[in-house]
């Protein structure tokens, strides 16, 4: 176990090097001078002022020098300050990451709550109407974009029924957990829809092959109930694929809930990242990207370790 963790940490360092270097490179390639973004369009283009700002930001140094000076600071936990808002990047992240993470977590939990029974039922009733109906439902869920689901939810629960606020975000620390959940449930559901579809398909197909195993027949011959066999014998060996995808999706959600965050006016990471990109706020882009990459790798490491919990045979390797 320890060996696995150490190997993972080494891989994490390698990944972070690659991610930071590539992001730095990409942002350097972005058209447009960040100084323009800082000064705004209206400002008189005084070459002396521009040169001063460039020198101040270190933009005159070669790419490699800028990269390593940023990297050195990042190692001490200093991800720099926004060129536009003057806010510390670390502060931005600690404010916004919990929001996005909650959204991601909630949506995955919601997706799993529905996906597990649907997937298990589909496998159990393979080829019967229950299976066909759930396949059709899943197909629909997959093909509707999540912002459409979001708009529909707003129309139904905020506009028509008036049960939930249409947008905005309540922080659990200031407004309490209930108010927080009321603002989180709709965006989380919108995000959960597609995932639910994918998860249930994966569980179904893994389960179909598990149900053909000899040990399932043996369990039947012991007179156990179908429900017991499905959930206590077949589900665990059928959950490795879905675990992998849950890990990948969680990472993806941390960086990519931009549309839903915008739709529901949620102060999350994605929202901020889009702002930073349009403002050429390279330091912020860089900081957030690195942070997301780190979390991503950490989550995938946790998933890998969870395999061993689910399937004891993996522990020996």
């Amino acid at each position: 176990m320890l060996k696995v963790v150490v190997a993972r940490l080494v891989r994490l360092v390698g990944t972070l090097f690659a991610v930071t270097f590539l992001t730095f490179g990409m942002t350097a390639l972005l058209p447009g001078d960040p100084v323009n973004a800082i000064l705004g369009v209206e400002t008189v283009r005084d070459p002396a002022v521009i040169a001063e700002i460039r020198a101040d930001l270190g933009l005159d140094n070669p790419f490699i020098v800028r990269y390593f000076s940023w990297l050195g600071d990042a190692f001490t936990g200093d991800l720099g300050k926004s060129w536009i808002t003057d806010q510390q990047v670390m502060e931005t992240i600690t404010q916004r990451l919990p929001v996005t993470a909650e959204l991601a977590f909630l949506s995955i939990i919601l997706a799993l709550i529905f996906a597990i029974p649907i997937g298990v039922l589909g496998a159990y009733k393979q080829g019967k109407w229950q299976d066909n109906a759930s396949s059709a439902g899943v197909q629909v869920a997959l093909s509707v974009p999540n912002f459409i689901v979001g708009i529909f939810l707003i129309w139904l629960f905020a506009v028509k029924l008036g049960w939930l606020p249409a947008s905005n975000w309540s922080r659990p620390s200031t407004d309490g957990i209930w108010a927080n959940l009321k603002t989180a449930i709709m965006p989380a559901s919108a995000l959960a829809m597609t995932q639910m579809a994918i998860f249930s398909r994966l569980i179904r197909s893994d389960m179909v092959s598990t149900l053909q195993e000899n040990y399932i027949l043996a369990a039947r011959s012991k007179g156990l109930s179908d429900r017991f066999i499905l959930f206590r014998h077949a589900l665990r060996p059928s959950s490795l694929s879905v675990m992998t995808i849950v890990g990948i999706n969680f990472g993806a959600l941390l960086g990519g809930t931009v549309i839903i965050e915008t739709l529901f006016a949620i102060p999350g990471v994605g929202f901020r990242l889009i702002n930073a990109i349009s403002q050429r706020d390279i330091i912020v882009i860089q900081g957030i990207t690195v942070f997301i990459a780190t979390v991503y790798v950490v989550i995938n490491t946790i998933v890998d370790l969870l395999y061993a919990v689910v399937d004891p045979r993996i522990r020996r390797r």
Binding site: Y215, L217, A218, S221, K222, G223, L224, H233, R236, R313
Partner: protein, 370 residues
């Protein structure tokens, strides 16, 4: 094959029949074909006795035992005929009725202990989960029972083994666990489906002896399914020989070995390696392969491989019929030991049939194989 009950009650008294199988048929619908894996089998298993079902791979013996228990699952399976257990009809009865019998009244030890235990569930739970669901015993009682069971099947350090996962055990150990599982609720009927095929030779005997010992101690009836006539020789009271989904010969074990009538039984008998033979004696294999169960020939299904087969065998399927001993049944036009049989073999030797030549040679060496 006849529809009438072909029981062997005359031998051991009608009252102690535990399981009666009558004209059982299990057909698989595969595309346009019908695979007749079990095709009109009738058997009786008596209380506390052991019935051996012998046949090659693909003869339908595994499907038969699963059909009797009713645990076949595929949607393309059609089972007909009758199976009565203690007076209850099992064919066509509901899942909930069957579930009460499975594991509790009748249980099964499967062929491959490597795949018949759930790899992600601890051995302790697997040994007693059905005990808990059938008899509603508490967790701690179940644990005690599990330790007892593992002791019975001679697994050392049972307390420690309960916490193991199957992959932490050897094949022989796992099969012992499977036997413990099968015995947990004290069933009256145990199916052992080739319980030793996947195991080392040294372990095979231990497992078979363990099964026989438990069967005697518990006065439990057992159906021992195997391809090895040698295995059933000393461990069964009765034997049914299966070929292509049908019973071709059936008798008490001693009668079968003393007076085998069906050429297939004889071929199986000859393919047992014997220590009395000189070293490097070529093992006698049965020529050819079992027939395609989706397209059985019109006559006797063994005809193509039989040393005795004549035109009548290829045209007309023989019915299962009794000998002078009403409990000894066989289905053959030209049975082993009969004058017609001897003449048929001579004809086939003349014709140069390879199986006839080796059978004739065998007969002169072993004195008829009887």
């Amino acid at each position: 094959m006849g529809v009438e009950v072909l029981s062997t009650d005359a031998m051991s008294g009608a009252s102690d029949a535990l399981l009666t199988v009558t004209d059982l048929r299990t057909h698989f619908h595969v595309g346009e074909h019908v695979v007749k894996a079990v095709d009109g089998v009738s058997l009786t298993v008596h209380k506390g006795k052991t019935l051996g079902i012998v046949g090659e791979s693909g003869s339908g013996k595994t499907v038969l035992s699963r059909s009797i228990m009713g645990i076949n699952t595929a949607p393309n399976i059609e089972t007909s005929g009758s199976v009565t257990y203690n007076g209850t009809e099992l064919v066509g009865s509901s899942r909930s009725t069957m579930r009460k019998l499975w594991g509790a009244e009748m249980s099964m030890v499967f062929q491959d202990p490597m795949t018949s235990l759930n790899p992600v569930v601890k051995v302790g739970r697997q040994v007693t989960e059905h005990l808990r669901s059938h008899q509603g015993v508490s967790k701690s009682e179940a644990r005690q029972a599990a330790i007892e069971l593992l002791k019975w099947v001679r697994i050392p350090e049972p307390e420690k083994r309960l916490e193991n996962y199957p992959h932490q055990m050897s094949g022989g150990m796992r099969q012992r666990v499977c036997i413990a599982i099968a015995l947990a609720c004290g069933p009256k009927l145990l199916f052992a489906d080739e319980p030793t095929t996947a195991l080392d030779v040294t372990v095979q005997h231990q497992i078979l002896n363990l099964l026989s010992q438990q069967q005697r101690e518990r006065d439990m009836a057992m159906v021992l399914v195997t391809h090895d006539l040698g295995v059933v020789a000393t461990r069964t009271d009765e034997i049914a020989v299966m070929y292509a989904g049908r019973v071709v010969e059936q008798a008490s074990t001693s009668t079968l070995f003393d007076d085998m009538r069906h050429p297939y039984t004889q071929s199986l008998f000859w393919s047992i390696p014997k220590t009395s033979e000189p070293k490097h004696t070529r093992l006698s294999a049965i020529v050819g392969r079992p027939p395609n169960l989706a397209a059985l020939p019109p006559g006797c299904s063994f005809a193509a491989r039989c040393p005795y087969a004549q035109d009548v065998c290829r045209e007309q399927a023989p019915e299962l019929q009794p000998t002078e001993d009403p409990s000894h049944l066989f289905a053959c036009h030209l049975p082993v030991g009969s004058d017609e049989g001897r003449r048929a073999l001579e004809v086939n030797v003349q014709l140069g049939l390879p199986q006839a030549k080796s059978a004739a040679l065998r007969a002169t060496v072993a004195g008829g194989g009887r």
